[in-house]
Amino acid sequence: MSGHPTYQPQSAFMRWMERRLPIGGLIYSSFVVYPVPRNLNYWWTFGGILAFMLGAQIVTGVVLAMHYTPQVDFAFNSVEQIMRDVNYGWLLRYLHSNGASMFFLAAYIHMFRGMYYGSYKEPREVLWILGVILLLLMIMTGFMGYVLPWGQMSFWAATVITNLFSAIPLLGESIVSWLWGGFAVGNPTLNRFYSLHYLLPFVIVGVVGLHIWALHVAGQNNPAGIEPKTEQDTVAFTPYATIKDSFLLAVFCILFAWFVFYIPNFLGHPDNYIPANPAVTPMHIVPEWYYLPFYAILRAIPNKLLGVMALGASILILAFLPWLDTSKVRSARYRPLYRQFFWVFVIVCVGLGWLGSKPPEGNYVLIARIFTVYYFAFFLVILPVLGKVERTKPLPNSIAESVLAEGKPIGAPAPPPAGAKV
């Protein structure tokens, strides 16, 4: 990483600042001259998109918090007041609720990219694990945020998810009443969820800082999965990655705006427009779409404790991915057999999501169980075995070669055969 230019402040003020708190230099070296592989494709823009969505959720969230009342008798109405009375309140609310969906969409794409191209492999294991931690924090934050409007789904999702902890032997019931702050989900629960929902996004910001730090230490992975060797293999972050990120961010925001302005309630559940009623459980309790695959795994196991453990394991197993995958080749581009299992995995994840929205009856149960078996088998059986037995395609000699010469060797041509005319 040495050799790229250092920050030369142009103005007297920046020279003064640079000596005292070198933020200018940090931004310059991290986001302007920082070298990135020249063959990055658009799947690499989702990190930047996620950073933008985190900022958007924090901004809209802080502003919504100015009008929300976290008390069981007022919460639902305060949200309705935001929708009807607060200037642009409808917009801020829909931005925040649909923003959460977009946040998870980007996160899942970002993770699938990592799995396809082997971005979790050495030396990026810690980067990957920080990402798993970020996913966990996002799941917690999203869950607590959904409780705040205090609709039917808010209340009953809170009841179901907090009740998961009662599966823990011996301590389960105490843990649940500790979480609730009472004998059931109620006002203490709402208050503490509000506090933590405000807090966790800033914890996420901190972990994102670590995540980007870990990334910059190892450097980006790239679609070929081979490390940059020379300066020819990389380009400066600004303007290349900056513009690529900005472009796909704009496209992403078009999708975001489509939901917010045309179909703002499409991803939500209509039952959440009914004020919470502790006496009546809705016919079909379902979480938001981004939790559905995990929900399907939970319901697929007929035993309470094992179901909860499977739910936890389905997320935690991701942290072990760098060691479960034994292949020396990073990118699925050069792993034809892995590629097929990967796409089946993607279909299984989407399928589990769809099954999570269905009532747990009949054939849905059978298919959910089959998919759950594949989900775990992918990590515990397929990946370890594949690394040993798969015949991978030959890797290119360098990134530059794979981009500029389309696989043909670059560099000095072979010497002419003996006897040929020069």
Partner: protein, 175 residues
């Protein structure tokens, strides 16, 4: 990045400027709802609608306190003595010169409607107190007369008047 120096603006220059302009407009547009949401919302504005006060139950010499837009308002049924004391004053010598006639509605000079917020730092002055039997602010000792005008103490201005009108001899609308 290659730099091109040329006398003619290029397509690239146009694209840069166009993109930056659209981004700038977008950024400004994004700020609008974020800032506007802090303005009073529709329910707060509705709660600030004018109120009607019935004057009939207010006895001679009695002061009542009502609220409008979150501010306390004194409705004072002044006695004849109080009205005389308010009128017989050398206006030029007052710290904030204002004749009593400018502080009441003509034909209704026994009714005084004031915003009960001391013009010094905002405490509520107490009615029927102080050397002029007007208002006295306990926080820093400002003294107002029977017309609500500042006489002594740190307050710079007379007590403010809310917008109000007489709907009949016994009813006013404040706001």
């Amino acid at each position: 990045m290659t730099t091109m120096s040329s006398a003619e603006p290029t397509r690239r220059d146009f694209l840069y400027i166009a993109t930056a302009s659209v981004a700038g407009i977008g950024a400004a547009a994004t700020l609008v709802p974020l800032i506007a949401q802090m303005n009073p919302d529709a329910s707060t504005i509705a709660a600030g609608a004018p109120i009607e006060v019935d004057l009939a139950p207010i006895a001679d010499g009695q002061v009542i306190k009502v609220f409008w837009r979150g501010k306390p308002i004194y409705v004072n049924h002044r006695t004849k003595k109080q009205i005389e004391e308010a009128v017989n004053v050398d206006v030029a010598k007052l710290p904030d010169p204002q004749p009593d006639s400018a502080r009441v509605k003509s034909g209704h000079d026994q009714w005084q409607v004031l915003i009960a917020i001391c013009t010094h730092l905002g405490c509520i002055p107490i009615a029927h107190q102080g050397p002029y039997d007007g208002y006295f602010c306990p926080c820093h000792g400002s003294v107002y007369d029977t017309s609500g005008r500042i006489r002594q103490g740190p307050a710079p201005l007379n007590l403010a008047l809310p917008p109000y009108e007489f709907l009949s001899d016994t009813k006013i609308r404040i706001g």
